[in-house]
Symmetry: C2
Subunit: 364 residues, 2 copies
Amino acid sequence: MAKAVPFFARLSQLRDRLARADVDALLVTGLANVRYLTGFSGSNALVLVTPRDCVLFTDFRYATQVKQEVTAHASVRIEMQNLWTGLWAWLADTAGVERIGFESAHLLHRDFQRLLEQGTRWQWRPLLDEIESLRESKDATEIACIERAVGMAERALAATLQELRVGLTETAVAGILEHHLRDQGSEGFPFATIVASGPRAALPHARAGDRLVTSGDLVLIDFGSVSDGYCSDITRTVVIGRASARQKEVYEVVQRANVKSSGALRVGMVGKDADAVAREYIDGLGFGEAFGHSLGHGIGLEIHEAPRLAKSADSPLPAGAVVTIEPGVYLADWGGVRIEDDVLVTTAGPRVLTSFTRELLEIA
Amino acid sequence: MAKAVPFFARLSQLRDRLARADVDALLVTGLANVRYLTGFSGSNALVLVTPRDCVLFTDFRYATQVKQEVTAHASVRIEMQNLWTGLWAWLADTAGVERIGFESAHLLHRDFQRLLEQGTRWQWRPLLDEIESLRESKDATEIACIERAVGMAERALAATLQELRVGLTETAVAGILEHHLRDQGSEGFPFATIVASGPRAALPHARAGDRLVTSGDLVLIDFGSVSDGYCSDITRTVVIGRASARQKEVYEVVQRANVKSSGALRVGMVGKDADAVAREYIDGLGFGEAFGHSLGHGIGLEIHEAPRLAKSADSPLPAGAVVTIEPGVYLADWGGVRIEDDVLVTTAGPRVLTSFTRELLEIA
């Protein structure tokens, strides 16, 4: 995908932000931010962005990979020892870079001390969310990646439901799903696959465990896939056998909350107002206490990123945001239902990227 | 496993260290350290250890899970809002805690600022590796977990090699392996599975990609599994079809380096001396330049932890350390071989936990 990615445009937008933040440069230490700015996907890198330069420091293990991933938009320094030594040497040779921002949310105290140890030669300014804010609005190449990841996820889920049956452990079901995801080309699993059956579907943070899938269970499956670094995040909940009246009732509440809140998304809408669409609906039907998490979050290079759709989220949704819409109802010792889609917010309205059915499936 | 884990002994050892570091308490923010001290496996927690108390702060999403995982050794505070608010309230009610250590390697600058914002009421001292040092020596319950993880990995690898064949993508091979790992009960994948075929086996950080496995390839498979939170980390390299003379030659170099360095491990041996055993052997056969990474690292609750076996590692191996031994030879545009075992260091000598054959397998 490298050619089509607008790295220069991203750098230009970032430089505008740095000028407003009154710094001469930004030290980028968050790896997702490194990838966004440069395309580099390795696990060890520092990037320095100045008005003139974008310099990436990595180590010799990545010498081949970095050449493939990073082209004209950044200059690459391969360090044999410590990336920080390379950074200090580069800065010492560069005039006019004195006030340097750093990523307060992506720098460990241990590494912050390295900055202080450099004395007064440079002034360090903690900054938050400068690149994360840019990443909120996905461009066409990013949307294409997410759409591919969603497609992989949906095909893998369809194949998995064909094999889902009584007597499998949750972990075995996760294995079947992950195998299909790999066969679809997923680069990995952005979070631990959740397969939660029966009463375990009521636990908001269940992973797959050794419980056996049983007739009458609700089975909640929440999983991700990755294409060219970009994530999908989808949840479906199915019934093993025939659904009971109560299962149908709860499912319908969640399904309607999902459709209502997806459909309500607009550019400029504040995160908490989006959250309120689902929450007020569920609350009005008497299940408010049972929806104990927020409505959704951005997805992209990370599985959780800005913007948030939550009671405490005060920021407006920009055009190009891709967010999850994942209302749920969880009843202790009974089970739970969550239906999660990935939705692109455009000036023409919301576009639901997930096409997998939201009807209640009864698995024979 | 909760009952057998010696949480009280761990806390007692930590308290001795804190006394020597001249602090009244330690704020624990590293999640693997939280799990080691308390058994809690959730993704949001703070722990404060004082001479008298061990207090765990987590959020309402984990209310059920934390009750199952944490018993008498720690007191649990469920916070509805922010964990830090709970911490400040607890500290304000507690006399005699003034000098508080924090984990410099596990605290983001953003959160370090929270400490400073509390003013002069408490004095904060950055500490490094206090809990990591304890974790270097595994106790019997930990060794049992790692052995289970190794067993899962070996059975999954054996099953995968039965299915490995020309024409599969590396990603598809990863899918087969991960599926078998799940069927063995692995709780997840501690790092992105590496399946590197043909010339890609020469890349030290290849993941699985879309290259097709081809007759004559070396295929390098490096993967992990997890049992009760503890990781295994194993690599085997096989040939598709009949091995060439060169493939056999390189393989034998790596195989002998593996066996020699595993056998040489002793309690008290310094990490760089262990590394040197493999490195000098490989160097003596003219492949020194082709072994471009360190010999190994500890495994446990994390896939990379102390102690390190590397040129720059000055620390002695304690009894109970479990380390990888993973020499490799990588030749650009040709391929590479790595053979990685997990080895327990005891006063009676090394015990190789991995029993999977180290002979060169030719996959028909």
